[in-house]
């Protein structure tokens, strides 16, 4: 069931109490056919969800809840039913339900921090075996900076507005906090679900530890950091150059993929940024409606001419409209901006796969050179031959699984885009119809007057 969250407010804002946030994010998971391509899930979030009307919201949420194709294997079901936000840290409750013997219990929950997710992601990246797979992108750090700044500004501007206006702005901001919060929970959840629904990753030992280990993971994390350090990160940077300036790939498929992914990445990155700006402007417009509605209401209250009713109705209408506008903005963010953002990261993960393959190819070529040298010197030939054989094997394995992964990735992407674009269009239509009805109703009333 979905119950809304109370938000903890950052220490900077003195005018708000520090409260603990208990966010119970619904995980209404429908089991679906395993074959369905993994699609990007968007938990319906309603940035203007009221704090109090819990049950109503729950029902509506159910209707709108998007089926989660990822969590479709009942042998391992994962969700994040709960999250706590304390100061800047978010604590996720990771809940697992499993029929697999590899786990000690059939059902259990553990608290995890964002850093734990990063640790898990990094270990997967570093695992040689997984070089031929697209590693699901790590969830981004929870970022409350946007609403926090706005909250700060609101505090400063408190004296310029009426009590009602201020209350409404605060309410709107709290909804924004909630939206960010829900988004971050969702994105962490999806990460885990991508792993659990993947035939290889779901069996990963570290994944299991992540799900099951009931102690703090921070010790392991520290060790891992020392071991891996910034190793891979550095590699990525140089790999970019390798990929870009590298020789044309003999394999047509990979050559095409390389060209496509490089270009697509830059385009989708740009589109994500632009979509974000667009959504923010939309929110600004909705906020302006709040101020306008409040002032019109004040003028109406003091008016004693025939204008009074007009002003009151106008103010009421604007208040209703701004809620719709807010929803348009947040739906757009979810269906469009988040979609683009997610696939931007996913494409980066696909690019990483290409880098690893390129590296394997380089290794193979180096091994060839070493073999030739060895043959020339008539020294250490068997080792060199063995090395060459292994490199070739690794490269072939990488190429084979890489091809598979990239193909299914494309399918996944197309399905996700389709779903979200359809949903976005439908929501836009719904909101516009709603707005039209509100407006026309008001106009009718005013014309009669």
């Amino acid at each position: 069931m979905f119950s809304s969250a109370l938000l903890l407010l950052p220490p900077r804002s003195s005018f708000l109490q520090q409260r603990k946030i208990k966010g119970k994010v619904a995980a209404k998971i429908k089991t679906e056919r395993r074959e369905s391509p993994r699609s990007l899930t968007h938990r319906p979030t309603r940035s203007s969800a009221a704090m109090t009307s819990i049950s109503q919201d729950a029902d509506r949420e159910k209707m709108r809840s998007v089926s989660v194709d990822l969590n479709n294997d009942s042998s391992l079901l994962i969700d994040i039913p709960d999250a706590l936000c304390e100061r800047d840290k978010v604590k996720f409750t990771v809940h697992t339900k499993t029929t697999l013997n590899s786990f000690q219990k059939p059902e259990f929950s553990v608290p995890r921090q964002h850093e734990d997710f990063i640790w898990l992601h990094d270990t997967l990246v570093e695992t040689e075996e997984y070089a031929g797979l697209i590693i699901p992108p790590a969830p981004p750090k929870p970022d409350f900076e946007g609403p926090r700044e706005k909250m700060h500004k609101l505090g400063e501007g408190e004296s310029t507005m009426t009590k009602e206006e201020y209350a409404k702005m605060k309410q709107e901001l709290e909804a924004e906090y909630l939206a960010v919060f829900k988004k971050t929970v969702q994105v962490h959840e999806i990460f885990l679900q991508r792993l659990s629904s993947h035939p290889v990753f779901s069996k990963d030992r570290n994944f299991q530890i992540f799900l099951e280990y009931d102690q703090d993971l921070s010790v392991r994390r520290k060790n891992a950091k020392e071991f891996f350090g910034g190793f891979f990160k550095n590699m990525v940077k140089s790999a970019d150059e390798v990929l870009i300036s590298g020789i044309k790939d003999v394999d047509e498929f990979f050559e095409q993929e390389k060209t496509f992914l490089l270009d697509y990445f830059s385009k989708i990155k740009d589109a994500t940024a632009k979509a974000e700006k667009m959504t923010r402007s939309h929110k600004n417009v909705a906020d302006d409606y709040i101020h306008i509605s409040a002032t019109v209401s004040n003028i109406g209250a003091e008016d004693n001419t025939a204008l009074k009713t007009h002003l009151e109705k106008f103010s009421e209408l604007l208040e209703k409209l701004r809620k719709v506008e807010g929803r348009v903005a947040s739906d757009q963010e979810l269906k469009l901006t988040e979609l683009l953002r997610y696939y931007m990261r996913d494409i980066q993960a696909a690019k990483d796969l290409l880098y690893r393959r390129a590296r394997a190819l380089a290794d193979y070529e180096n091994s060839n050179k070493a073999l030739d040298k060895a043959r020339l010197k008539s020294k250490d030939i068997p080792q060199a031959e063995e090395n060459q054989r292994q490199c070739l094997q690794k490269f072939d394995k990488l190429s084979e699984s890489g091809k598979q992964e990239l193909t299914s990735f494309k399918g996944r992407r197309v399905v996700a885009f389709r779903k979200n674009l359809i949903e976005m269009a439908e929501l836009e239509i719904k909101h516009a119809k709603n707005s039209t009805a509100l407006l026309q109703g008001c106009i009718e009333m005013l014309k009669v007057n």
Binding site: K267, I268, N284, V285, I292, T305, F314, S435, L439, L446
Partner: protein, 483 residues
């Protein structure tokens, strides 16, 4: 003097000329002017907002006795009081004319050169001419050219004639409209076209309000302004700017306050109204600021939507899955259309809503000004009484001294001041009456203006939403077609 109560019926001289203006800067075809097909916008040749639409008695509100033959009115009106005349509706169309000369800075036209978008064609059409027995105009249809400074000149003349007797003279537009409106302009810079349009619209509204004022319409300066082919050049635009006048009014108000006139307000109506207008002033300014912010954000939204549309198009081109690629291109097209929508809505936000508020902020300053003039008038009357008292005392003293010349002079001075006291009282009564009538008219107009604009604005919002439905409904099958 004959006093007559004002019933809401026909027998009174009404102001029959509803001049409906269309003021456009003189230009051949303003292609760069924004969106031609906006039905809800006041762009383009036909102005939809006619502030005085119906034939109602403009004096209906005034329940005070109005003297038809009061001496004050005679010098003001060019013609004498006229018999009842059937209403006539002249229309005025002001079209923009952008001469090349407009942007040239010729040395002897320095004064005018600073006003880009300076010359306007003012086209006036008097309909139903045969019904006119009051010939305010010589012709039925005519066009004149007017400069921005001419408008300012007109206002300054009217202000000097009428403000001090309590008429609410509509304020002229600011000289620098750019500075006045804090509209942050998006993708198009404050192009001359947009600037000219803002100015044109402001002038049109100004002229409309002036001409809707029953007394002002008959003013010879107004008629000359509307009719003459050649207007004498306004002397100094600096002093005549709308802002200048307002500054004058405000200074007067401040001076009055500083004098701390403790007026014995015998009439609660004035106290009430003054407070009302104070409050309204504060609220309207706040509202205006909020709406300006809305305009700004809406323009930003438009710009960002356009930018996203381009980006989506690029993404669509890059996409190698054919159906998805097509859908993304379609999305880009939809967003482009939506960007246009936002822009149009921003214009509606501005021209319908924001400008109305700006006008009323300035109008209320004028209203407060006349209240202050009343205080000054009262003060002058009181001063005269004090002076009279002094003269009487002086005369009494002289009675006992043996100075027949001085006594005579004192007696004359007393007569002089008695007359001044009487005049002061009459002036005060007159301005009070005028203000009551003016405020009644003003309030009625305000109610009408806002009612009309609210509905028009809501209709503009409806239009936008309906277009959105159209665009997204067209896109939906494209999205569904992704296989």
């Amino acid at each position: 003097s004959r006093k007559q109560l004002v019933p809401p019926s026909v027998d009174l001289p009404r102001f029959l000329f509803r001049l409906c203006f269309q003021l456009s800067p003189t230009s051949p075809e303003p292609a760069s002017l924004p969106a031609e097909d906006i039905s809800t916008n006041s762009n383009g040749p036909k102005q939809e907002i006619l502030l005085d639409d119906d034939q109602e008695d403009l004096f209906a509100e005034a329940t005070e006795e109005v003297s038809l033959d009061s001496p004050e009115r005679e010098p003001i009106l060019s013609d004498g009081p006229s018999p009842a005349i059937t209403p006539v509706t002249p229309t005025v169309i002001i079209t923009p004319r952008v001469d090349a000369s407009m942007f040239d800075r010729s040395p002897d036209e320095d004064e005018e050169a600073e006003e880009n978008g300076d010359t306007f064609d003012l086209q006036i059409m008097v309909s139903d001419p045969e019904k006119t027995s009051l010939n305010l105009f010589n012709r039925n249809e005519f066009t004149v050219k007017r400069r921005f400074s001419d408008f300012l000149g007109l206002h300054s003349k009217l202000a000097s004639k009428y403000l001090h007797i309590g008429y609410i003279v509509p304020p002229a537009p600011e000289k620098s409209i750019v500075g006045m409106t804090k509209v942050k302009v998006g993708k198009e810079d404050l192009s001359s076209a947009e600037f000219v349009e803002k100015r044109r619209s402001a002038l049109e509204r100004y002229l409309m309000r002036t001409v809707n004022h029953p007394a002002l319409l008959k003013d010879p300066d107004v008629i000359q302004f509307l009719e003459s082919t050649e207007l004498p050049r306004a002397v100094s635009t600096q002093a005549l700017s709308g802002a200048g006048i307002l500054r004058m009014v405000n200074k007067a108000a401040e001076a009055v306050n500083k004098m701390t006139i403790k007026m014995n307000e015998s009439d609660a109506w004035f106290e009430e109204k003054q407070q009302q207008f104070e409050n309204l002033d504060v609220q309207l300014r706040k509202l205006h600021a909020s709406v300006e912010s809305l305009v700004c954000h809406r323009k930003e939204l438009s710009v960002n939507t356009a930018s996203f549309a381009k980006s989506a198009a690029m993404l669509g081109n890059s996409e190698d899955h054919t159906a998805l690629s097509r859908a993304l291109s379609q999305l880009a097209e939809v967003e482009e259309k939506i960007d246009q929508l936002h822009q149009e809505q921003a214009y509606a936000d501005f021209y319908l809503f924001s400008e109305l508020l700006g006008d009323y902020v300035r109008l209320i300053t004028a209203v407060k000004g006349v209240f202050d003039h009343r205080m000054k008038t009262w003060s002058k009357w009181q001063d005269a009484q004090v002076m009279l008292q002094r003269k009487r005392e002086a005369e009494a003293k002289l009675q006992y001294a043996n100075k027949p010349d001085k006594l005579q002079q004192a007696k004359e001075e007393i007569k002089e001041w008695e007359a001044k006291v009487q005049q002061g009282e009459r002036d005060f009564e007159q301005i009070s009456k005028n203000i009551r009538r003016e405020v009644g008219r003003f309030e009625k107009q305000r109610v009408k203006d806002f009612k009309v604009v609210i509905i028009k604005y809501l209709e503009s919002l409806v239009h936008t939403q309906q277009q959105l439905i159209k665009y997204w409904e067209a896109f939906l099958p494209e999205a569904k077609a992704i296989a």
